[in-house]
């Protein structure tokens, strides 16, 4: 499954990033890398934007980006 399918409060392990170099670099600089765990903290009203927590960092993503992050639910 992908990150955008999760709901508020869910946790998951990142399996793979199906992203191009630019996005992967960006995600990596926030610590979003395979093997790390994420928590979904909040979704916006139309689920267009979601907030996740990785390590001690809270990150906002668009649905488009969250679609590219493969996870397995914990």
């Amino acid at each position: 499954m992908v990150l955008s399918e999760l709901h508020k409060g869910d946790t998951a392990e990142i399996i793979r990033l199906n992203a191009d170099k630019m996005l992967r670099d960006r995600l990596a600089s926030f610590g979003i890398l395979p093997g790390e765990h994420v928590v979904i903290r909040e979704c916006s009203l139309a689920r267009q934007t979601i907030e996740v927590e990785v390590g001690a960092t809270a990150i906002a993503l668009r649905k488009d980006e969250a679609d590219k992050i493969e996870v397995s639910s914990d």
């Binding site: 610590g31 903290r41 909040e42 906002a60 980006e65």
Partner: protein
């Protein structure tokens, strides 16, 4: 005295600027990195090192915040290029102690530059409150660079940092060492051994060169390519890379090294950091429960915005009145001292009025920027983007675009400046281009005048609402169009940190607001001053002696004082008609004829390029109602109604809604967009849109009214 150049680098929101402030009381020099609108803050001071009994001139350059040395944002690009190409002695890497692991990612990349380096663990006070303990000595041993605990907010660790800067400066070379996984370390060792065997004369240490080559650094490949050693080095490298690929199960070196950096950062954190208490880490999550709540988030945000604009435009109106009164008084004094001759007029009506018009905006700018600085430094701005991005993204904008767009309804000048909060170049440019469609406060009198004259007072309110709403909608549609046809291309991803909420540092906010106010006065001021003198000149010269003489005689013969007043107004009108501005208006009339405008309306529109307030006063002069005419002037309303047909009036409103904002705004736009060519584009874009839509409005109204 030795001069030490320090490059201050760190991720966003780690308190770099506060640290600069804590290190030195010297005034900050704010400039731009060449070619981009990224602020470059520098500070220099003399430090007396009593241990060495020597003085050092320390020069700190505060680089823009970067999460990593990639080129994702302009800030990251600027930082990367500076670190690679510019002249400096030491990197001081500021690290947020409450988020060690992510911050150490950048640290590893900085260590790979091979420069001398110091790590500052900032926000130690916050970290301790959260029960985070960091063994700075151990971290220093792992990284191979000095690590200093500090708290910029409390001024702790500042002296230790200064001492460390001098110590590191006096050392011959960096001792920084990133440790990679065994597979890579093995290959590094193999290449280093090869260099040693060959006694190769390397400009940088062998280990560093080996890492560069394994990372396929283009510059170093170019350089090594011309060395005789290259032919023997090649097979060693090839074999090394093959081993690494095999081990990592991919041939993507970027991904391999991203993993390596991450592993190093994570490993370092695990070794040096201990979390003592499981106390609720910080109030951020609690606050966010409310502020980015699905249902409450947006209403709360709208309330904050409403409060900010109330403050900006009501509180700002008070000093604006003072400034206005002050400059009027100054103008009168100039008239009194210099007489009513040409000099008196240039100084009073040209220079003083022009400068006054610039300074007038200052209270608005200061209050609004205080508000925006608060939103940014507390961390709320990121929440705004989170809340609104879903909607604005559909139109090619960013959630943060909301703030400049709403500001635009007040005044376009601060709105253009507020667009700085957008970090993505394309989204920023789209926002800048459509900002003029948000009708500013200065256009209101024109709308009030025309709505009152042609739709009657009872409908004026609805018409005004319609004007503002259709302007905003047009802006969104145009944003989409610009995004689709002009600023097209691969969309940039949206991955943004939601920083913790923090109390703002008032000193820092003061610096930001002060800097912005000053740069506005300096840059926009000089240009607007020149432009307003030009407009004043064009509307006053050449003066026709015959017109003056004819009217003087007529006024002489007039019986009633009313007739005299009317003749005086006619004289002004006649003078304006044959002035340069009048001539330009007449010359450009053919351009406006398809829209139903006569030369008077053309002149008013062109004068409106200087400032929108001028449109009404120019119409007043041209329809011979005197210069003091305003939108509530019954005579002017009557004159407009009798001489302008309804379709032309509607076309005029549409044109005013869309065409280029005033000189002040255009000057600011040019600076913010990054060059004159953008002003040319904006002029072409707004004028053609205004013309076409006015044309449509004119003909549609004619068809409906059968006129």
């Amino acid at each position: 005295m030795k001069k030490i150049m320090v490059a201050l680098a760190g991720q966003p929101n780690v308190g770099k600027s506060s640290l600069v402030n804590a290190v030195s009381n010297a005034r900050l020099k704010v400039g731009n990195f060449s070619g981009v609108t990224v602020d470059k803050t520098e500070v220099e001071f003399v430090y007396r090192d009593s241990r060495r009994d020597a003085d050092y001139e320390i020069h700190i350059i505060d680089l823009p915040g970067a999460y990593s040395l990639t080129e994702y944002t302009i800030e990251e690009k600027v930082t990367k290029q500076f670190l690679r190409n510019d002249d400096y002695d030491i990197i001081v890497n500021v690290v947020d102690a409450t988020n060690l692991q992510r911050n150490l990612l950048l640290t590893t990349q900085l260590m790979e530059t091979g420069r001398k380096m110091i790590v500052v663990l900032n926000m130690m006070d916050e970290a301790e409150e959260e029960g985070i303990e960091i063994d700075a000595g151990q971290l220093s041993r792992i990284l191979g660079v000095p690590v200093i605990k500090a708290s910029a907010a409390r001024g702790e660790g500042v002296n230790a940092l200064k001492e460390a800067i001098v110590d590191v400066y006096e050392k011959p070379q960096t001792t920084a060492k990133v440790i990679y996984s065994d597979a890579i370390e093995e290959e590094i060792a193999r290449i280093v051994a090869f260099f040693e065997e060959k006694h190769y004369q390397s400009p940088i240490p062998y280990r560093q060169l080996a890492v560069r080559l394994l990372q396929e650094d283009t510059d170093w490949y170019k350089q090594m390519h011309d060395e005789p050693i290259w032919i023997e080095l090649l097979p060693v490298l090839r074999e090394g890379l093959e081993h690494i690929y095999l081990h990592h199960d991919t041939k993507d070196l970027d991904a391999i090294f991203a993993d390596e950096h991450f592993a190093f950062a994570k490993g370092a954190k695990m070794e040096v950091m201990a979390l003592h208490s499981m106390r609720a880490r910080n109030p951020t999550q609690k606050i966010d429960k409310l502020l980015i709540n699905k249902f409450l988030g947006i209403p709360l945000f709208l309330f904050f915005m409403w409060a900010l604009f109330q403050l900006t435009f009501t509180l700002g109106a008070v000093p604006m009145d003072w400034i206005d009164a002050g400059f009027s008084w100054l103008g009168e004094q100039a008239h009194a001292v210099l007489g009513d001759g040409v000099l008196g007029q240039v100084v009073s009506d040209g220079i003083i009025a022009g400068v006054g018009a610039v300074v007038m905006f200052l209270p608005n700018i200061v209050i609004l920027f205080l508000g925006i600085a608060l939103l940014e430094t507390t961390g709320y701005m990121a929440r705004v983007a989170f809340l609104l991005d879903g909607f604005f993204h559909k139109f090619g904008l960013h959630g943060k675009s909301f703030i400049p767009l709403v500001t635009g309804f007040g005044c376009t000048v601060p709105a253009y400046m507020a667009a700085r909060t957008l970090k993505n170049e394309r989204e920023r440019l789209i926002t800048l281009f459509i900002l003029g469609f948000m009708s500013c406060g200065a256009r209101l009198p024109i709308y009030v005048l025309f709505a009152g004259a042609f739709f009657g007072q009872e409908h004026a309110g609805n018409i005004l609402f319609l004007i503002y709403i259709s302007g905003a909608l047009l802006g969104l549609v145009m944003a989409k169009a610009l995004k689709t046809f002009v600023f097209k291309g691969e969309e940039e991803p949206f991955v943004m940190e939601m920083p913790r909420y923090r109390w703002p540092s008032w000193r820092l906010i003061w610096h930001t607001v002060y800097g912005q106010a000053l740069s506005y006065l300096k840059k926009a001021g000089t240009f607007i001053l020149a432009a307003s003198i030009l407009v004043w000149f064009a509307s006053n010269y050449p003066k026709s002696e015959t017109v003056a003489a004819t009217y003087a005689a007529k006024i002489e013969h007039a019986v009633t004082s009313e007739a005299k007043e009317r003749l005086r107004n006619e004289a002004i009108s006649a003078q304006l008609e044959q002035s340069y501005l009048g001539r330009i208006g007449k010359a450009t009339e053919p351009f406006f004829v398809p829209l139903g405008f006569d030369w008077r309306m053309s002149v008013a529109l062109e004068a409106g390029l200087a400032a929108k307030e001028v449109v009404v006063s120019t119409l007043g002069v041209l329809y011979a109602q005197g210069e003091s005419a305003d939108e509530t002037n019954g005579g002017l309303i009557e004159a407009l109604r009798s001489s302008i047909p309804l379709p032309a009036a509607i076309a005029f409103i549409v044109f005013v809604m869309i065409y280029l904002p005033c000189f002040a705004a255009s000057a600011v736009f040019t600076r913010e967009a990054g060059g004159w060519k953008y002003l040319v584009y904006l002029f072409a874009f707004t004028t053609s849109t205004a013309w076409m839509l006015s044309f449509v409005a004119y003909h549609v109204t004619r068809m409906i009214t059968g006129g």
